[in-house]
């Protein structure tokens, strides 16, 4: 292996090194100083993130085309790294609790290994590589969801996630077997060349899409989402709703654009129907939720629907807007989850009613929550507005005006329930409000990153232009 090939897969290699380092440190470190592991891991991960951004213009393939590194895949990995970094910083307070102190390094190792899986998945050039990455990305997350295993709900979440994942993997593999049977290859470029789209191939594609739909929690494959999100610890919920979802969307858009352009009309119809269902059902269920994690779970389902709207055109603007929106979504959703984490750590309260009168006691947290929710709703001048604008513009470019109309009506429905939370914090009165507390340094810095991201990503047009320049599509 030459130096160049090492550099090509630097994201995965560095992550693996970091994970092994933490594992070794865990063995040799003095038990009294175990809490330093958090700091070490975050510093290591920050180094990995920065190394990912270093401007090596190295693209190429490895392992005979199994692994492909392109500018887009590097960009996607970097975006995921930013999100994971924020989540790691957010979870420090939670990991400091007594009941978690014996498992700190496991947390970081599991998160890093699932990220390695996602990176391999994004860089896959072969369906088997893609599948290995997918499994590597999924199984550690199930362990993470059951992290608080002494709690019934957390254990239940882990079991549900692993069962659903294996089911969806089965469905996906069945689709892949049909694709293999009709094309005779699993290499992406060969499949794309032998895909005229006769019925068995379409069927294979549908199975493949259904498998992916489980991972992204697209309606009607979303039923696991709310339970798992509610049961898992808050940080894992934010990881599932942002990073797992983002990675699955990244690979889906690459595969749709690169492998299946020949059956574009078919997948456009599929996405058209599923996106309408996903947005509408996600929104309608979100209105009824009382638990803030379930609430954000359904909100994230509807967000996936908007993202599908961006993909539907199959155009370059579509890919750019999807990647851009994931970036925006990372900052906005992690901002919201950051506030939920802070409140959950300090008081253990997780219901929307508990947020009544929050502005009186914790004005800063309320403001951040409001900004994050407004960004998710797409209110200017926050980044979410630009993100949604570009997503819908991408769909309109190809003439999907009807879909855009449904999507914008859905954003109004979503505005309604986001405003309900804002109302709880700012308007509603509460005899027993959450007392004023001062969150610690990691929580505050993570929230600060999110708020900065919410403002800067929108205004700084250079970010969008950069993503647009790297995207492809017709």
């Amino acid at each position: 292996m030459s130096l160049q090939s090492l550099l090509i897969m630097r994201h995965e290699l560095l992550l693996a090194v970091a994970a092994i380092f933490i594992l070794t440190a865990e063995i040799f470190i003095d038990p009294a100083r175990k809490k330093n592991i958090s700091l070490i891991s975050i510093v290591l991960f920050a180094i990995v993130t920065i190394a990912g951004f270093l401007p090596f213009k190295l693209t190429g393939t490895l392992f005979g085309g199994m692994y492909v590194s392109s500018n887009v895949s590097t960009l996607m990995k970097n975006i995921l790294n930013i999100g994971v970094l924020i989540i790691l910083i957010q979870s420090v307070t939670w990991l400091r609790k007594d009941e978690n102190s014996d498992r700190v390094s496991e947390y970081f190792i599991l998160i890093m290994s699932t990220l390695i899986g996602m990176d391999f998945m994004i860089s896959a050039g072969h369906f088997l590589m893609f599948y290995i990455g997918l499994e590597l990305a999924t199984i550690p997350v199930a362990a993470l969801a059951a992290f608080e295993r002494y709690k019934n709900k957390s254990a239940e979440a882990g079991i549900k996630l692993i069962l659903i994942s294996s089911l969806s993997s089965g469905v996906l593999l069945y689709g892949l077997s049909m694709i293999y049977g009709t094309t005779g290859s699993l290499y992406f470029f060969e499949v794309s060349q032998h895909f005229p789209g006769f019925n068995l191939q379409i069927l294979g594609f549908i199975f493949f899409f259904a498998g992916m739909a489980f991972k992204i929690s697209i309606v009607p494959f979303h039923l696991w989402t709310a339970d798992v999100y509610e049961g898992a610890p808050v940080n894992i919920t934010s990881f599932l709703s942002v990073i797992s979802k983002g990675a699955a969307i990244f690979i889906l858009i690459i595969i749709l654009y690169a492998i299946f352009p020949s059956i574009m009309e078919t997948w456009q119809k599929t996405i058209l129907v599923t996106s309408i269902l996903t947005m509408t059902i996600g929104n309608l269920f979100a209105i009824r939720q009382q638990n803030i994690k379930r609430f954000l779970a359904f909100s994230s389902i509807s967000q996936a629907g908007y993202i599908l709207v961006g993909m539907v055109g199959g155009n370059q603007l579509g890919m750019a807007s999807v990647i851009y929106y994931i970036l925006v979504y990372i900052f906005s959703n992690l901002g919201a989850f950051g506030v939920v984490t802070a409140i959950s750590n300090a008081t253990g309260k997780e219901n929307i009613d508990d947020y009544n009168g929050l502005y009186k006691t914790n004005p800063k947290l309320s403001l951040i929550m409001m900004l994050a929710l407004f960004s998710l709703a797409g209110i200017p001048p926050l980044a979410g507005f630009f993100g949604k604008f570009f997503l819908f513009t991408a769909a309109a470019e190809k003439g999907f005006y009807f879909l855009v109309l449904i999507a914008v009506i859905n954003t109004i429905i979503s505005l309604y329930y986001y405003l309900l939370v804002v109302k709880a914090m700012f308007i509603n009165k509460n005899d027993d409000p959450i007392v004023n507390f001062r969150s610690d340094f990691p929580t505050r810095s993570a929230l600060l990153i999110c708020v900065a991201g919410i403002f800067v990503t929108g205004f700084a047009s250079i970010i969008f232009e950069l993503i647009k320049g790297l995207s492809f599509g017709n």
Partner: protein, 501 residues
């Protein structure tokens, strides 16, 4: 630096200043200084604009400034004004300035209140100076969203319901508008040429009629909801009556004008062919708005509801005039926007001040206020007279111009709808005089009202400046109407060129 950029920069600086200072007095001081500067800047803009025109500058838009923002989508931050937007900016700065003084007694979360109020003003100013559809839309939404908190936190009555209803209806309208704007964007240039959001650029190109037929109604309704187009006006009475004084002033005085201005600048200016074809539907709807609003105002007992319904009627008249699509009527529409903005702001300010003293807004519970608080009562009479169109005040000029313009259409349909709309003048007189008779003149209902104080200094500032503007337009309308009329010419040329009468 371009003078127009200051219209966004000053409010943003004011907001920052408000956030930084500590006690309530300074918050108010910063807010009033900031908005005072804005008022001076608007006056300067009017003077500069007129001087440029006198000097023979015949460009369609003046003070044009263009920053490229998102290059790949050709989104610019493009600024420019013509006579119409200059007039609207002047109106906005007057109303915002008066609004700051009208909320001088705001004691609950003062800092947050002024931040939201000026954020709203930022959106409005930004909207009027933009000539790029993207930034226009951005500022439009920016102006709507603070309303939720302003009504929900500081409002009265069923405030949570009203705030949610208003926000969702207006944002729903902006959702439809958004599709319309995207439709315009993707048909903004012939095949092969770069698409643009720039209004001036698009106006040089005729959007294909098939696209116009789809996107004109979306754009018009999208803006029309904000202009209280029947049957989408229901947010207005609830919203206005629940909102705190300054917010009602700003909302009825300025924000509703965004609807009229946008319907004219985007829907009609860019898609005149479809506008010609479909205007009859909207003329019928706006005639209903005009009459329905007036009748609604006649039976209400709550002062704010009366005024909110009267706003529906008057703003309906704005849209009605715009749809007449000739120079006189459309000039009248802009005059009406300004006149209504000023007098409705005056109304809401006075209602707020009266409510602060009597703690009721039901006209039946009050009476004989003229003896007790003569200054406020006289102001109320002046506002009322302006509203029912007394010559010498702004309302007369505007309505006269509108109806003369509307009657220039020789055909039966336009004639009949015009006559229907004209009858609103009579109904307006009924409800205005009814309020004046019961509220101000009749016998005093309650002894405890006898000891009320008349207007304080900040209330006088707020009312006097509005009355001065109402009177100025009423007495010397021609500088304003000629400024508007000159800028109306390109729009009329475009309408005439594609579809001669």
């Amino acid at each position: 630096m371009n003078i127009l950029t200051f219209f966004v920069v000053i409010p943003v600086l004011t907001i920052t200043g408000i956030i930084l200072v500590k006690d309530i007095k300074r918050v108010k001081l910063v807010a009033s200084i900031g908005m005072g500067l804005q008022l001076l800047l608007a006056a300067l803009l009017v003077v500069l604009y007129i001087m440029q025109r006198r000097a023979g500058n015949t460009e369609e838009m003046l003070f044009i400034k263009d920053f490229v923002w998102f290059k790949s989508l050709n989104i610019h931050f493009a600024l420019g004004v013509d006579g119409i937007s200059v007039a609207m900016i002047a109106l906005t700065s007057v109303v915002v300035f008066a609004g700051v003084f009208a909320s001088w007694e705001m004691a609950f979360l003062t800092k947050e209140f002024f931040v939201s109020l000026i954020l709203l003003a930022t959106g409005v100013f930004g909207f009027f100076i933009s000539i790029d559809l993207f930034t226009m839309f951005l500022f439009y939404e920016l102006a709507v969203i603070p309303m939720y908190l302003l009504i929900g936190v500081w409002g009265s009555g069923p405030k949570e319901y009203s705030a949610m209803k208003l926000t969702l209806m207006l944002m729903g309208a902006s959702a439809i508008l958004f599709v319309g704007i995207l439709g315009i964007y993707f048909h903004s240039a012939p095949d092969g040429e770069p698409l643009t959001f720039n209004i001036l650029r698009i106006s040089n190109y005729v959007i294909p009629i098939q696209a116009q037929r789809v996107f004109f109604p979306m754009t018009f309704v999208g803006f029309g909801v904000l202009g209280a187009l029947f049957p989408f006006h229901t947010w207005s009475p609830d919203g206005h009556s629940s909102a705190p004084t300054a917010v009602s002033m700003l909302h009825a005085g300025v924000l509703m004008k965004l609807g009229g201005y946008g319907a004219f600048r985007v829907a009609i200016f860019l898609m005149p062919e479809a506008a010609k074809e479909m205007s009859w539907i909207f003329i019928i709807l706006t005639s209903i708005s005009v009459i329905y609003g007036a009748f609604g105002a006649m039976v209400q007992k709550d002062l704010k509801y009366i005024n909110a319904y009267s706003s529906v009627s008057h703003c309906g008249l704005v849209l009605f005039a715009i749809l007449m699509m000739n120079k006189t009527a459309m000039t009248g529409a802009v005059l009406q926007m300004i006149s209504h903005g000023l007098m409705t702001a005056l109304f809401f300010a006075l209602i707020g001040m009266i409510y602060g003293r009597t703690h009721t807004r039901l006209i039946n519970e009050m009476g004989g206020l003229m003896k007790i608080i003569p200054f406020l009562s006289v102001c109320y009479v002046i506002a009322g007279l302006a509203s029912l169109g007394l010559p010498g005040l702004s309302g007369f000029v505007a309505e006269m111009t509108i109806f003369v313009g509307a009657f220039q259409h020789p055909d039966l349909f336009h004639r009949i709808t015009t006559i229907i709309a004209i009858t609103s003048i009579v109904i307006t007189a009924v409800y205005i005089l009814r309020v004046i008779a019961i509220l101000l003149l009749g016998p005093s209902r309650d002894n405890q009202y006898e000891h009320m104080n008349d207007a304080k200094w900040y209330e006088k500032i707020s009312t006097v400046i509005l009355i001065a503007c109402v009177a100025a337009i009423g007495l010397a309308p021609f500088w304003l109407s000629s400024m508007i009329g000159t800028s109306m010419q390109p729009v009329i040329d475009k309408i005439l060129a594609v579809n001669p009468f």
